[in-house]
Symmetry: C2
Subunit: 185 residues, 2 copies
């Protein structure tokens, strides 16, 4: 498992427009408050914080860089000196200098939070694990939306969230709660 | 959507030992037969076929390279002249020359099949989409296993499969059936 005491906190796509991105209701509205708690703990210890921002290239996305929805939510505003990596796809490792930054700073341990569980958070967690980083994913520090299957079935946000975490846990990362992470950070 | 008529068929981890890898029952036992149908169609047209093989580095895995479980299943044996990429992690793009091979051969369209839906197939599909390839993922040409969530709930292989496809569809790829792909290949 990732050594939480020396991990970087990686905060993915906690941006104003994300709640307008999908039609179905989301789950876990406490995610932002939990992320704020984790950020406070990381800053208190002086451990590295990495912010990832999605600059959408989709014509209709509220996350396009020129739109107000691109801004970070108040709970996840970067502070001076914290790294911000801007991306245009789901993975925070594609088209960014994130991997180089982590390796250059001898950061091997990551705690990942952000939005959404099954798109950008899952993709970044998978690549982080496959690139050799030790990852903790915070179950209640992420959230997603209901989605329709290709066969036309609709699944709730909780179903999407829980099953995606089941796919990730013990294969790409360890899934813990905010309380469990704060206990050792 | 990927142009199926000029796509490469990418066959992931169809290896003898994979059914011994997990404790819970798998779904879609027709996947191997569907993969064989797709391989036959690709070979008939002379379109590129790419095989991906998992050489596990886990001490107890039946997919370790020195074990009989590492062998390709009979339905997915590579033929002479077909590319084989060997990997040690979930993504077929990490630690391999797959991306260089595809770019070097001007292959931009991929049809992906193989095992398992939510681990190696999902991770490779996500990276392929994020790297700019146009991807079709074949719903009945892949399969997975039941898994337990971090919270201790158990999900069936069908639940894992369907919800993971719902997360991938229209974000990283288009999900089609074998019959739909064969209709245009």
């Amino acid at each position: 498992m990732a050594n939480i005491e020396r991990a970087a906190l990686v905060v993915i796509d906690v941006q104003v427009g994300i709640d307008d991105l999908f039609d179905c209701p989301r789950n876990n509205h406490q995610a932002e408050a939990n992320i704020a708690l984790l950020l406070a703990a990381w800053r208190k210890r002086g451990n590295p914080v990495v912010h990832v921002k999605h600059n959408s290239v989709s014509p209709d996305s509220p996350l396009r860089p020129e739109l107000p929805g691109n801004a970070f939510k108040p709970e996840a505003l970067p502070q001076p000196g914290e790294q911000v990596f801007e991306k245009t796809v789901n993975s925070a490792f594609i088209g960014t200098e994130l991997e180089q930054y982590l390796r250059g700073n001898n950061i091997t341990e990551l705690v990942i939070v952000g939005l959404t569980t099954d798109h950008c958070v899952s993709t970044t967690t998978r690549m982080a694990g496959n690139l050799g980083f030790n990852v903790v994913l915070v179950s209640d520090g992420t959230a997603t939306f209901g989605r329709a299957s290709p066969a036309g079935e609709t699944y709730t946000a909780d179903q999407m969230h829980e099953i995606n975490l089941a796919s990730l846990n013990e294969e790409f990362c360890q899934v813990l709660t905010t309380a469990e992470v704060l206990d050792v950070s």
